[in-house]
Assembly symmetry: C2
Homo-oligomer: 149 residues x 2
């Protein structure tokens, strides 16, 4: 559980449990051939998929619909040099099924500033990785989550 | 300053001032053709470049040296639906000049867990963008930082 680099690898369920406890993560995608990243509020669906709610026709929707994206959440205590980081990687898609849209309107994330026409974006949790670092000795170089090789 | 979407766009100097006040950001890059993101502690250089310190030969170094990356920092108050997000986009490179390495060993970031051989990675601040959102009405859909189009 505690390899030499000081990290503890987190299992899928532990990753999802930690993610579920924070309101905001960051979606990572490609925009005009450049890496892009945006903080967004989110909820996890029962199967671990990341659910976002945003304006239909937004730049975010155009950039991520149909693309493989990463979604990261973390909680780091800089004073103690401890914390965790979880990344969900998978295909993102706008929810088009009307019944599913209705379900998410009841149970999905709530926009912090609702707009007239909103869509839900679902990021499938195909790959869920995470690491925990514990006080001081646990960071690998500058990075909280990189594996050496 | 406050367009209809509720955001206040931040100028370059304001972005860098905000970034300088947080210890940890997230580097966004491509790894095995997939979007990847890692929290890292960092410092800003005088010209706004993002400085990281990590183990030589790490996976992070291999992935970002010579590539264009994004580096994001934010501070979000989920209860008040307010906060800011800044993204620096530019080419990343390992610092190879010995004099520059010595300078950064004195003034650059300190590893939270030093390793035997470390390098500095510099992300040039070619593009610096940021937005501030202020209490409730300021979020654009789910996203703190996406521009509509």
């Amino acid at each position: 559980m505690y390899p030499d680099d000081g990290f503890r690898e987190l299992g899928r369920q532990e990753c999802l449990r930690l993610m579920a406890g924070v309101p905001v993560g960051r979606i990572v995608f490609t925009r005009r051939a450049l890496p892009a990243v945006l903080p967004v509020n989110f909820r996890l669906d029962a199967d671990g998929a990341v659910l976002l709610r945003t304006a239909a026709g937004s730049e975010l929707v155009r950039a991520v619909d149909g693309a493989v994206v990463a979604f990261e959440a973390d909680d780091v205590d800089a004073a103690r040099h401890s914390g965790w980081s979880v990344v969900v990687t998978g295909p993102a898609a706008v929810v088009t099924d009307p019944a599913e849209h209705r379900r998410l309107a009841r149970t999905g994330p709530v926009s912090w500033a609702p707009s007239a026409r909103e869509v839900f974006v679902r990021v499938e949790a195909e790959l869920v990785t995470g690491r925990e670092l514990v006080g001081g000795r646990s960071l690998y170089g500058a990075s909280l989550a990189v594996a050496d090789g």
